[in-house]
Symmetry: C2
């Protein structure tokens, strides 16, 4: 947590072609401000090993510049049997790897958890998510593209859920890292 008591969360919407990344500061009263938003893009014509290295370089620069307290990554499901699912899983592994290498706790959230946290509705569409993210962060325009908005929504979701949701390894709150537990405790106090 920063000296101001806010939590800096880095959210990643993993993908090979477009990997959304967003950083927000979230105060104990749940108000949030934008720190960074962007998309790391790679060309489908590049070899996979070069695409993953480019994604790692792009994400690493954001980690190094913005020094988040915690990392939130969208959870990828095997049953999404799209041709891109393996690449998405590999990109999510890169984001989680970097969290580990920077010594940060990481958590994963499902798309419906993110939508529910941000819009109150687990089946919200992309425009609803973008609209709520823009409103919460007091942005003049909708965050574009959707991958960028999703990364910000993931970060907000993680902070608002008090770090009490499933860590990336699927463990319960009893096994939260000290930083996650501190925030969970802080978030509970803030809600009283």
């Amino acid at each position: 947590m920063t000296s101001s008591g806010s939590l800096r969360v880095l959210g990643v919407d993993p993908g090979l072609t477009r990997c959304g990344v967003g950083v927000v500061d979230v105060a104990r009263n749940r108000s949030a401000s934008l720190v960074h938003v962007g998309v790391v893009r790679t060309e489908p014509s590049m070899p996979i090993e070069q695409r993953l290295a480019a994604i790692a370089a792009g994400l690493r620069a954001v980690f190094a510049e913005h020094r988040p307290d915690v990392v939130a990554v969208e959870r990828v499901f095997a049953q999404h049997n799209r041709s891109t699912v393996m690449g998405t899983a590999q990109a999510s592994g890169i984001a989680l790897l970097l969290a580990g290498e920077f010594g940060l706790p990481a958590a994963t959230h499902t798309p419906s958890e993110v939508k529910a946290a941000v819009t109150g509705y687990g089946s919200a569409d992309k425009l609803q998510v973008q609209t709520m993210v823009a409103r919460v962060l007091r942005l003049d325009a909708l965050p574009q593209p959707a991958d960028a908005a999703d990364a910000l929504a993931l970060a907000l979701c993680h902070a608002w859920r008090g770090g009490a949701s499933t860590p990336a390894g699927g463990k319960a709150e009893a096994t939260l890292t000290p930083a996650q537990r501190a925030w969970a405790d802080a978030a509970r106090l803030a809600r009283r």
Copy 2:
């Protein structure tokens, strides 16, 4: 390719709990020798971000020490709907990432391609693979555990197929890297 004309291949059988890694030198006449074999292990109780960082550290040490020419990784399929498939995909992404970061070409091979290349039989069982790997590399004992044998088999498969199989990005031989093409040409000459 080394000055001796042999190709040094690093094979990775990706996994979170046991990630097999093997390095072999393969001469133009297809004879092969063992350079390194090992398994990077992580505890299921560790957070995923720490497991992936440990796998990256373990693999990076092998890349740095043995300086392969090319990296071969077992291809992971989404339709293998086991609970571990996402972790396996993430570990494979780490191996491919490191190839990219070391400036090396990478390729993926399916388990049946590997079994066919090493034993002549695409449905060979683990013992048959271990036995053939031990025979080819003139080992006194079967490589243990099976993940280590599979990593060696992957490396042999890659060299024997002449680097002409599918690169990790799924592209055809027309888009092989210069190093892959040089080896493919060399392998074809060797087979005449």
